[in-house]
Symmetry: C2
Subunit: 495 residues, 2 copies
């Protein structure tokens, strides 16, 4: 015994020794009541110092796996129920208990798996040039500022940050973001805010709160739109009606026609750097759309998405600013696409009664969002790092956008490009082109992208489209990748 | 104008100036096309340096609120839709759009609010001695070690930690915790793990996955039990059947009788330091209960709760260890009660097919748990800080437990105390005593606690009980608080 003890270099040795002995006890290799080798013996058996063995034995005692008899030594503690060697028969019954979990899943659970496209992600050959991601480029992250934000906040608040926080969120961050929304032109009267673990939690909470349970819910959205939003709307049982996109946002005539003939529980809109088309809805359309939706009393969920990334033209107020004191818009924001997705912080801003209900739901589901994440973000914003970072990020992404756009014009001239910036562009080939087939061909050449059909409300739509995320691709690979896509498209689509 | 500019001491001045000017533009005090004062003028108007004004103007340009004409100066950018002064009539319609949100809430949303007792927390007079919390004492937190864990991990992984992670969890942490479960005696074959934002998210996901949707779900649990669990079970539509508690765990005869006559979708059990009674289920009962539940094919959700806090006696294997290769137990763990509740990290460990479905649900709801939280926790564990901390925490809580127990014996001799340690004890007065009335009386004397009825499955049960959380109360206040509770109890209950 004791010959298979192996040391890892990055962990305290006493703990490794303790856990090693614990495993021997659990496996039954060391039996209850058995005397452990003296610390001196064990030291030479394991090849570690005697003091380390003493610490390991103390640890075993703390955890109830051993006891000491003064003057005699350490002994393995009484065997306990459930251990293999303590098995007296009825454990067999427990161990052979097989639950057929799949048979127990409800419809929601099954749908969550079926609609989980991430699980069946696009298979990429090694070293492929991948245009599938629209996550930010982590090389832009200013790690030093993030560390400083963490240490600054720790120095100010100390241990309190590690204890329970509030479901509603970290108060200083809420205050900051309320002001932030006011600076975007939102009227904060009668409104309130809930901090969530990213945009997605906020969206999921709102849909959970508003899904009708006695009939099917009905939602209206841009078509195409953010595929995760489509997934979550479907998961919550909503039937989707899509409004086709024009270069400056939704087709307003179509919107009016739809609203006139059908009724909806909610609208989901992405007015800035719309995913996947990259379109920024024009100010005129924002007002017109809001006016129409207000007339038909349709609550609006506004996806703030990467609004902060706008790198051209005048500032455009979010939809919620258009609503003034009206309470019909729920704004869900996040810095995930601009700042750090790993920090899971988002916010829901809207009518105070709605926020109060969402707060109770949030408490029941996750208690509260990580205080560490919230406080790092708060201090980072307070330190002025956000402004500095966004300036750098905007410049870099703008440059990459120009490169991408130019390459598409040169290499894929027959596809129509939309996108004013952000982290991606969207291409539409002539009708009949099949971008899934294109993906297969490109993948063999080491280039992958996201086929556009998954952003469309109905199956079979958008089969001639694709999204190119350029945020994490080098200039050189953007050029090379797009050239390959162009070549394959020409050969496949005979254009 | 510009006279109301006030500087906060803790933020970069240029950003404060930029935001101040932004607000003036949004309010319409600075109109579109209007020339801004020269940087020299503005510097004297705001009382800040000219370089700072230059930076503020650049910031306004970046954000699209101003533009510069070389040689002439800076101008306010074109007014945009939605601003008060750009209102041309139809915004009135939007602003007057009032949604009656409450009328739109579904049953779940309403229940989440109704069952949210935290929102109507126990009203405490200022400086009251509060026994309501069972959060850990933050003064025990070793902040230095947490900081080091953060910086260590950052140094190793860098920016990657701030970008998107995986729904399943941070791989090194999963590997660590799988080993950790094995060290508790669990058989990991055919099992898998999902990292969640604390115990609560794990529990909520499991209930969402398993709630029957075509009929009412039925769950069996200890009675009393964790009130948040009761809330979440009810929120998911489960009807609860409670098994009365004996000093060493559930009344097994009652359990058998119930299982013989009724069928259940799941069992929820808290075997160690049961909340609220503090009881540790004996090894014999663990095996017997598991054997019974396996015979009736009832899936078990095991709440790991503060298992790590055991500070007396031999180690006791969790229920899932008893199950061996059986897949009927779902173990939900968390270090929240032992370590840092502010770090929202928990884990669900169980059958791999179940975990796979939960992973898809988790992705749809919150994408993934904070990578910062996960990586801090991982490095903290790896550095061996956990063992060191738990040893300190166990000693301190054990001491406080002894003080609390002794004070109860002296001052409240007619109440029966249960609890082997943990962070709380549970008191049962003779039948007929009303601890809500006792709470009112004590609250007037500056002492509060948690009335026990909220831990019971049915209304009207446990009205003679209360829970005392001692983790965050000083020894002196434990003594004083319990004396006051005793005095009030004597006078109210005439005992």
């Amino acid at each position: 015994m004791f010959q298979d003890f192996k040391l890892a270099h990055d962990r305290p040795v006493a703990i490794q020794a303790k856990e090693y002995l614990k495993r021997l006890i659990i496996k039954g290799a060391l039996q209850s009541g058995q005397k452990l080798p003296s610390t001196r013996e064990m030291s030479s058996l394991l090849g570690i110092s005697r003091n380390t063995v003493i610490a390991a034995y103390e640890g075993l005692q703390d955890d109830g796996f051993a006891y000491a008899i003064p003057g005699k030594g350490s002994y393995v503690a009484a065997a306990i129920a459930g251990q293999t060697d303590a098995n007296d028969g009825w454990n067999d019954g427990i161990a052979s208990c097989r639950i057929d979990w799949k048979a127990k899943f409800n419809e929601y659970t099954v749908s969550a798996s079926t609609l989980d496209t991430m699980k069946r992600g696009i298979h990429a050959p090694k070293d492929a040039i991948s245009f599938t991601s629209i996550a930010p480029d982590e090389h832009l992250f200013d790690l030093g500022d993030v560390k400083r934000a963490f240490l600054d906040r720790m120095a100010i608040e100390g241990q309190v940050l590690l204890n329970y926080g509030y479901a509603k969120g970290y108060k200083p961050l809420i205050d900051y973001l309320m002001q932030y929304m006011e600076n975007k032109g939102a009227d904060t009267r009668g409104k309130d805010m809930l901090i969530t673990s990213g945009f997605t939690e906020g969206f999921d909470l709102v849909l959970s709160a508003l899904r009708p349970t006695t009939r099917q819910g009905r939602a209206i959205c841009e078509n195409p739109t953010h595929h995760t939003a489509i997934k979550n709307l479907k998961l919550h049982g909503f039937e989707l009606t899509g409004v086709p996109m024009k270069p400056d946002g939704m087709d307003m005539e179509r919107l009016e026609e739809i609203l006139r003939t059908e009724s909806f529980d909610l609208a989901y809109l992405v007015p800035s750097y719309h995913n996947p088309t990259g379109i920024v809805m024009s100010p005129a359309k924002r007002s017109a759309a809001m006016s129409l939706l207000a007339r038909y009393q349709v609550p609006v969920i506004e996806d703030g998405f990467n609004e902060e990334l706008r790198y051209s033209g005048a500032h455009i107020a979010p939809l919620i600013a258009t609503a003034g004191q009206g309470n019909g818009v729920i704004y869900i924001g996040s810095f995930s696409k601009v700042l750090f997705p790993g920090l899971r912080v988002g916010w829901v801003f809207g009518d105070h009664e709605l926020i109060s209900a969402l707060e109770s739901m949030k408490r029941a589901r996750t208690i509260h969002t990580s205080t560490i994440d919230q406080s790092i973000l708060y201090q980072y914003l307070l330190n002025g790092n956000f402004d500095k970072y966004v300036r750098k990020a905007r410049m870099e992404y703008k440059r990459k956008f120009e490169v991408t756009k130019k390459c598409c014009e040169v290499h894929i001239p027959n596809a129509q490009l939309t996108g004013d910036g952000g982290l991606h562009v969207f291409l539409a080939f002539p009708t009949g082109a099949d971008t899934r087939r294109l993906l297969e061909a490109c993948s063999e050449k080491g280039v992958i992208f996201t086929p556009g059909d998954r952003f469309f409300v109905r199956e079979g739509e958008g089969t001639n489209t694709l999204r190119l995320g350029f945020s994490r691709v080098t200039d050189e690979n953007i050029e090379r990748g797009i050239r390959i896509i162009g070549e394959q498209a020409r050969s496949l689509f005979h254009s």
